[in-house]
Structure formats: C-alpha cells, structure tokens
C-alpha cells in the first residue's frame, strides 16, 4: 500500500509505468526499485527456498541478504531490492539457482 499523506515526508514519484510480474501486467513508478513496486502491488512472496521450498520475501531491502533474488528480463539472481524498475520489464519468480550464459 502506498502512503499518500505523510506529516514529514513528501514522495516525489516518477512517471507511472507498466511492467510484467510472471506475465501479469502491473503498474509501478519509474525510479523505484522492483521490490518496492511489487510490494505496493501486494506481492510479498518473491520466491521459494531451493531445498525446503519455503516462501521467501523482502528482508533487508539494501542488497545485503539475497532473500529477494528473481529473474529480470531473463537474467537470474537479480537483487530486486536494489534493481530499478524500467518500463516493460519482465520480472519472474526464479526456479532453482539460475545459470550463467
């Protein structure tokens, strides 16, 4: 959920853009991270752990913890908490560890 009114801060959001989450079209704002846009759209489960298949979500939001790895425009293991959203981006849940090209 996005904050619309805040007693101290003013949020200068970029242009509204479309992107794709597992094929589904969602809206976000240019300049924010992929994680922020997914969160605002109510997506909390970003993937599942390899062995136990437990749900994984956003934890640190600054690129430390690797809990938010997803496939972005075909590239696996992208830390979506620090990767910026771009128009038309394809964001997909990652299966497995991903491989080098």
């Amino acid at each position: 959920m996005r904050i619309t009114e805040h007693p101290i801060l003013e949020f200068l959001r970029g242009e509204e853009i479309s992107f794709f989450y597992n094929g589904q079209e969602l809206k976000g704002f240019e300049g924010e991270t992929i994680a922020a846009a997914l969160h605002a759209a109510g997506v909390k489960v970003l993937g599942h752990s390899h062995t136990m298949h437990r749900p994984r979500g956003l934890f640190c939001a600054i690129g430390n913890c690797s809990s938010c790895l997803m496939v972005v425009d075909g590239e696996p293991n992208v830390r979506i908490c620090v990767e910026k959203l771009k128009p038309g981006m394809r964001v997909e849940t990652q299966q497995g560890k991903g491989s080098l090209k």
Binding site: E32, P55, G57, C60
Partner: protein
Amino acid sequence: MKEIEVLIIGGGPAGLSAASAAANLGASVLVLERDELPGGQLVKQTHKFFGSKKQYAGDRGFQIGNLLIEQCKTSAKVEVWTNTTALGIYEDGVVTAESQDEHVKIKPKKIIVATGASEKMIVFPNNDLPGIYGAGAVQTLMNVHGIVPGQRVLMIGAGNIGLIVSYQLMQAGVEIAAIIEAAPAIGGYLVHASKIRRAGVPILTSHTITEAYGQESVEGAVICKLDENWQPIQGTEQDLKVDVICLAVGLSPLTELCFQADCRMKYVPELSGHVPIRDEYLETTRPGLYVAGDVSGVEEASSAMVEGRLAGISAAYSLGYGLEAAPKLQEEALAELNELRSGPAGHKTMKGIMKLMDKGEVVC
C-alpha cells in the same frame, strides 16, 4: 588504474564526513558508494537528532544527510562514485571495485573503511516467513519509497531503532500491536518511548517472540513473558494477529573488508561484534587503513559523523596536509566523541573501546 590520495569505502554519515574533512585540509578524495545515491541510512531518518549543535542536533536525519552530500558535491577535491561496490583490498595496496558493471582498480595512498553495519537476526520458528523485515528495510520501504509494509506490526526490540521505526510506522498510518523487548528495561531514549506509549501502544519488557505463523506470509505471532533468568514463563503466551514482524534487535559491523585486508580483529560484545583493532586516531593495524562509523563499533549516526571527521583529518595529516591545523582538529573531534559517549548508552561504547585497545585476547 585510478590513483587517489584518500579512498573512502562507504558514502554514509561516516564516509561523507571523512571526505569533507580530508578535502578541507587539501587531500584529493574518492568515495565509493554501492547505492545509487550517497547518504547511507541517514537519508531514511525522519526524526530529529540529539547532541550539540556541532552534531546537527535538532535537524532531522535526512536533512543532515542532504547537507553532507551537498558539502561533498561542492568540494572540488571530492569525487563520489555511486553504484560502486568495493570488492577487495590487496597486499600491494590496490583496491578493486565493481563500478556500474565494470571491474575497476584503484591505487590509493590511504584508505578509510566506512562500510557501516548490517542487521542482526534472532532465532524463532518461522523466522524466514515473508512479512518479517529488518527495521532498516521497513524504513527503506516507508521513508524512501513511500510504501507501508502491512497493516499491523509486531516490533521486536525497544532500543532506539525499534522505538523510532515504530513511531515512523504510526506516522505512516500503520497500527503497532506491541513493541516487545527481552530485557527488563527499555533500551532507547525515554522521550521516544513516551511518545509511543501516549498513543496507546504497549511496550512489553521481559517479553520475547516464541513463534511466527502463516502459510505463505506472516499471519500472526505468539509472544510470552520472560522470568529474571530470561526463560519463558508457561501460561503467559499471547497470540497477536499481525501481518508484519519487524526486527530491531541490533546491528553487526560490516567488517568483511577489514578481515580481508588482514587488519587484526577482536570480538567485543559492547561494540556489537568483531571489530578491527585501531589507535585513537582510528588507524588499524594495517598502516594507512582507517575505520570510521559502525564498522568500528555500532553506535549512533552522531558519533559516526565525528569518527568520520577524525579519520579524514588523520588520513590527510599523515599525507602531510594541515600540519598546523590538523592536531588541533583531531583533539577537538576526540573531545566531541568523549562528550557524545558520556551518557549511559555511551558508557557501553567506552567500555568496548577500552577492551579493544587492550593488547590482550586478540582473536584473529
């Protein structure tokens, strides 16, 4: 290969303060910042700072961050590389980094490591469920992106971070079910705690979380009371319906680069983990490598800024800059640090630094 006099790794409050201080004495400075923007965690702080005017008391964190960024921007001697992550410090003094997807090499004369800290985790069943965040993540989501993490929050930890982030959540319209703290007393400033209690949010001391539950993300948490030996008391369990659990249980210094650079390290609980041994001017056992801010022991941003200034002055002075001015500036910074650490919270830091400077018990 990029050559520079002073290389600063980390563009948060300590790193930016170090940059201005070294540049003011005449040294050429390069700051590496892994994020898109410098400022570190300061830019996410909406509360007003304490201390004296010298440490920007009365200003809000993000305003101080903007001021430090501005000081570096206007200095012809300071260069800031953003989207740049330092990778290693080698025996021959070369530092490697990933900068905007390129591998780069830097040859500095002096290095200041100001990498900050990362959040600690605590152990309880289902602590990996989506909806459980570090307090810093909640601040990033809320104060940078303007997005709330959920509807109803259980905050774990009543230190200053737990209290401040709870208040920020309330300002953003989120309900706080409770703040729990395992210790028998609130760790943060009473002024923060009072604001929260006045709004009707319970702060439960001697309480811990026994489990989180939920299918795909957090749906609730069970908390219980602890006895004087920190053991759960049977029958005191409470079930809280929350969709967010926020962990504010402390920070660990981000010392990987110090370990890798072969600085002698020591485990000091009062400083929140392994920290490099350093002299009073913040030079580590590796000559020419200084530390400043949370990486040298977790404290508040106010002391991180003064440590940054001290490290910056010391690095520039060792290169022959400010031969007249530097010693006086160093003493001033040391006096400010002593003053900042004179309160009850600072007592712990002082004890930690004493242990650190003690030559015995070197771990690594």
